[in-house]
Amino acid sequence: MKIIVSVKQVPARDSTLRVNSEGTWLEESELSYEMNEPDAYALEEALQLRDKLGGEVVVICAGPQGATQTIREALAKGADRAIHVSFEEPAARDALATARLLAEAMRPESPEMILTGLQSDDLGYGQTGVILAELLGYSHATIVMEVEPQANNMVRVKRELEDGWFQNIVLPLPVVLTIQSGIKKLRYATLMGIKKAKTKEVKTISPAAREAHATEAARMERIYPPQRAKQTQILTGNPKDMAHQLVEKLRFEARVI
């Protein structure tokens, strides 16, 4: 089975998020980057499917030059090759514009399965996989927790619904699945893997500027820290003081312990 996994590089969870002076994105100098969390799970699922069924895992990532760090990481974990859709300012675009770029790069590959993360940690659209399916004419399922390929080009997947409910559905290939975190235990890259990654193929596609800046249907105008509406009582002092105040408040103010 040929599987494409789309992985996005996002600012690391513990980096300092400071909005730039124009309010258009973050102060990049203060950011470190990592692979979007659900995408790591999508990659893991793809690698396990390949190891079971044979075939190939291709990772695709749209982003600036620095995104090659995340591509290398995916290759080190075991992906066979990569496609880098190279453009700057990924932050400025909407889910449709990104999906169009990814779809064009994927089309000539004709994969049987495309795995994406269910949501990006930075922009949080939760849409790219579903849009890809529509653009490519593939069937799709979202928030997937199990993937079970079946005979005659079908796949059975377990989807997460709200409130602890689940649902199995059966779909025809080719298919796009958006993967939820926790689907399988993640592997680490081995030293051997890291070494091998250096020799693996990374194809770079540079969409024409016109294409990359295609009209955005939804434009981000201004980024800012949210206004806090609620009055939270913030405790002060050293840990011991905070603990003391908190217990007093829970006993005599909230009367809950």
Binding site: P11, R13, L17, V19, A95, L96, A99, L123, G124, Y125, G126, Q127, V130, I131, A133, E134, L135, S139, A141, I143, E160, E162, G164, F166, Q167, N168, V170, L171, Q180, S181, G182, T215, E216, A217, A218, R219, M220, E221, R222, I223, Y224, P225, P226, K230, T232, Q233, I234, L235, P239, K240, M242, A243, H244, L246, V247, L250, R251, A254, V256, I257
Partner: protein, 325 residues
């Protein structure tokens, strides 16, 4: 010109978020003055639901009633709504941001060459035009989004708008004749199910100590277990802790885990992403312990301790032991 709100039901029961979307729709319609507000109900035999929806002081309820809509599939829902939107030409189409909507609304908007503005938390007027407020970085930042094109597709976040109340109104109900063929539907859904009986019922707990990724390693869990023990509390967790297998899935709180409303909820090293908040915001008192003073959890907390949980939690254990002695 109209705003169309797509209400969500499963097996004849509303998803309550539908009426939050309706409230958001009303807000847009009122701000714009001349906009009508209509609702759509999809399913099979939905007349009773439509009559209920008709009492929410709106202009019209459309029913998209078809045997092939009895069970949700992305293909059928998208096809049905596409037909209806092409014929009615609403200016804005609004959804609650549910898991079902995540599954098909991006597909639908793509058919119109447009993009869904997803998970909207507020609607504002900035310099004479409408902007939709979304969250970035799991609630750590906000962004104003300006949408182009028609229709505009929006989904609204759980809890962001106060649900509309039924009024005394009586909207007209109109059947929209959906054309669907079985061959259009590629996926075969099976019956939804829950995992085997849970061994812990967090919903019944008076006190919950909930732990997040701030705990860093599985080996650090005894620190919060001790806090739970001295309080007589149940231990719960955010998703990453269960994903890693450090605590069983049944202790996960949030949109895909359990919904809890204890007297006190201690959020220890939890950032407060919306998918976590929806599971615990009904708690009577929320205590947050987090080293990042800008963490969104502080917006939901009654009491906040900003600092290192590895120092604060043991101090808290000592303090509680003292009062119990």
């Amino acid at each position: 010109m109209s705003v169309l709100v797509v209400l969500e039901q499963r097996s004849g029961k509303w998803n309550a978020m539908s009426f939050e979307a309706l409230a958001a729709g009303k807000r847009i319609a009122e701000a714009a003055g001349e906009l009508q507000i209509n609702a759509a109900v999809l399913g099979s035999s939905v007349d009773a639901l439509a009559s209920e929806a008709a009492r929410y002081s709106i202009q019209k309820v459309f029913t998209l009633d078809h045997p092939l809509l009895a069970q949700y599939t992305a293909d059928a829902y998208t096809a049905a709504l596409e037909q209806m939107i092409r014929s009615e030409k609403p200016k804005i189409v609004l959804f609650p941001h549910t898991y079902q909507v995540r599954d098909y609304a991006p597909k639908l908007s793509t058919r119109f060459g447009n993009v869904l503005v997803s998970d909207v938390v507020d609607i504002k007027n900035e310099g004479g035009h409408t902007v939709y407020v979304r969250q970035l970085f799991q609630g750590k930042l906000n962004v104003d989004v300006r949408a182009a094109g028609e229709p505009q597709f929006l989904s609204v976040q759980a809890g962001a708008f106060r649900a509309a109340k039924q009024g005394s109104g009586q909207a007209g109900i109109e059947k929209f004749a959906v054309r669907l063929e079985e061959t259009q539907i590629r996926s075969k859904p099976e019956e939804p199910f829950r995992e085997a009986q849970r061994s812990v019922d967090l919903a019944a707990a008076d006190i919950i100590v909930s732990v997040g990724r701030g705990i860093k390693e599985k080996d650090n869990l005894p620190i919060v277990e001790e806090l739970a023990r001295v309080l007589g509390a149940e231990l719960a967790a955010s998703r990453p802790i269960c994903d890693n297998g450090w605590l069983p899935m049944e202790r996960q709180v949030g949109s895909s885990g359990q919904t809890v409303s204890p007297k006190v909820y201690f959020a220890v090293g939890i950032s407060g992403a919306i998918q976590h908040l929806v599971g615990m915001k009904g708690s009577k008192t929320v205590v947050a312990i987090n080293k990042d003073e800008t963490a969104p959890i502080f917006e939901t907390a009654d009491y906040g301790a900003v600092g290192d949980l590895f120092e604060i939690v043991p101090a808290l254990v000592e303090e509680i032991k003292k009062t119990k002695a």
